[in-house]
Amino acid sequence: MKKVLVLLLLAALSLSLTNCQRGGEPAGGGRQRIALVMKTANNPFFIEMQKGAEEAAKRLNVELVVQAAEREVDVEKQMQIVENLIQTRVAALCVTPSGSREIVPAIDKANKANIPVVIVDTRVDAKALSESGGKVATFIGSDNYEGGKIAGEFLAKKLGGKGKVAVLEGIPGHETGDSRLRGFREALKATPGVEIVASQTANWERDQGFNVFQNILQSHPDVQAVFACSDLMALGAVEAIASAKKTGQITVVGFDATSEARGAITDGKMEASVAQSPAQMGALAVENAVKLLKGEQVNAEFVVPIKLITKENAGQ
């Protein structure tokens, strides 16, 4: 039994060495293979992004591999996915970093394997990248800071320049949420009458958005508006407001403009959401990866425009 197993292993190993030699040819009938590594595959934002990327891949006749960790913040799992894709010799790698600094070692590994890296949605920490000497071909995303600012300006105007606001933050230390928050706070500085009375994290989760906002309602029953750094958390807050029988009395502004949030806006349960066009990001990521593979020059950065979705344009 043991001997047979050892023999099998040896046979497999010796064959693998021949595999080493013949590897490298593009799989999938000669089509080039591009990978998109997302933070997670179970968040509407990333589902949209995947759709956009898949359509572009079909249009440009390239093979697209989409992979994601089970949990959005699992930087180690994302690193493993990138390492494993490098082993399969993908031609180009598009990544939405789970951690703006923690992604850098993975970028270094792709660089070493001569695989061009396209960063999508979340910026890589510039300092960490320059320290490691890593190279990113292009960044595709929208300005989260600007998005937060738009939300803040809208809310201040909606409240007539005076009122109490609560904030549901994303996971602390997460570049995306932090910039949205910075933009939002910056916008409110212009209207000192609007005061942030509570600012708590709900870790990007809908159920936590519900619980945390319910708690905020206990401590600040007079809160007039809430800004959530993502629609999932905003929708959690909408439920908390409904269970407190305060629907319509509290202005909810979210971020991402997911289809469910658009529905809530149409129904008047939510006031607005900042739209980021993840599908366009996914498509641009694939398009630029293809350009890079053809040896064409690409811009160092593509800013996908941001707009505010309100009742007027929620159906579009």
């Binding site: 197993l5 595959a41 930087v75 180690e76 390492e83 600094r101 960490a128």
Partner: protein, 321 residues
């Protein structure tokens, strides 16, 4: 005691025989993946898999000790995060590397010993004590860092994960070292014998003069300390210590341990089996990534493999027993 020692030794032999089942599972998996994709069975990918297995494999050694005593340690992932951020802060204060490593291992050891004290002196069930520590260590790590990752370290420190000796990643060498030492401790020392004895029959161990409290607490201390060691490797690998690192690692470590044939009832198990278990998990994740399987399907496959592995193991044991 001597008679018991001999009996235990005979048990070990039958364990090795049983491990052939787990080992052939691993080899079968390797063969299937080798048949499906040319990218799997290459030297560089196998080293890649070993590197990816190292962190969970090291945590799982501590878990194996704990589970052999009939306990469980749910706090390993949180302790890893806590030890990681404490060490990272120390590194940012420019302490010498050996001191920083001692800080990581010491923080883990401390948390583990608190678990041990709660279980032995406080008479809490291990599940409850370590569930509490899971939350306390996580919260402390978040408080300590205000929720933000601590990142950017010297090349010297990072080489603990990124360095290579004769082409083999340092993290893999550390993992192998941990397994060799753990195997020797478990099979050749008093601590090892008592670990089995406590899990086999705590009352009997107590009556035969084993200081159950001390040895039990030591086992939880070992588990904490190895979480600290895993924190060193994870931090060096990502160039960042995150207070939210290591979530769900306890489940991966438990899975590796039970796939490796350790019984949750205590009294039996080997670290060799656990290593094979950790490798099965890593090979599976790596293979599914390489094959481009969706992350949803991956979870189903991994869960099914855990169930199948334990089912087969139990079936073999029934046949052998």
């Amino acid at each position: 005691m001597r008679a018991r020692g001999i009996e235990l030794r005979r048990d070990f032999f039958s364990h090795y025989a049983r491990q052939l089942g787990t080992l052939s599972g691993l080899l079968g998996l390797v063969l299937v993946l080798w048949a499906l994709t040319p990218h799997f069975l290459t030297v560089s990918n196998l080293l890649n898999v070993a590197e990816q297995a190292a962190i969970i494999a090291i945590v799982a050694v501590g878990m194996t000790f704990v589970i052999i005593t009939g306990g469980i340690d749910l706090s390993v992932g949180s302790v890893l995060a806590f030890a990681g951020v404490v060490m990272a802060e120390a590194l940012h204060k420019d302490v010498p590397l050996p001191v920083a490593l001692a800080v990581a291992l010491g923080t883990g050891l401390f948390c583990g010993l608190v678990n041990g004290a709660l279980i032995t002196l406080g008479r809490l069930p291990p599940f409850i004590a370590t569930l509490g520590m899971m939350s306390v260590a996580r919260g402390t790590a978040l408080m300590f860092t205000e929720g933000r990752p601590v990142s950017g370290f010297s090349g010297g420190f990072r080489s603990l994960a990124t360095g290579e000796v004769f082409g083999i990643p340092v993290s893999v060498i550390i993992m192998v070292g941990v397994y060799v030492v753990a195997h020797l401790v478990l099979t050749r020392t008093k601590l090892g014998r008592y670990t089995y004895a406590i899990g086999g029959n705590e009352e009997a161990a107590l009556l035969s003069g084993v200081n159950v409290r001390v040895y039990k607490a030591a086992v939880y201390g070992i588990s904490g300390m190895l979480s600290g060691l895993a924190a060193v490797i994870l931090t060096a690998r990502l160039n960042s210590a995150q207070p939210i690192a290591g979530m769900m690692y306890e489940l991966d470590a438990i899975a590796a341990t039970v796939i490796g044939g350790t019984s949750l009832l205590g009294g039996e198990g080997t670290v060799v089996g656990t290593l094979i278990g950790a490798l099965i998990m890593a090979v599976l994740r790596n293979g599914l990534n390489i094959l481009g399987v969706s992350s949803f399907v991956q979870q189903v496959v991994i869960g099914s493999v855990i169930i199948a592995a334990v089912l087969i193991d139990m079936w073999l044991k029934r046949r052998a027993g």
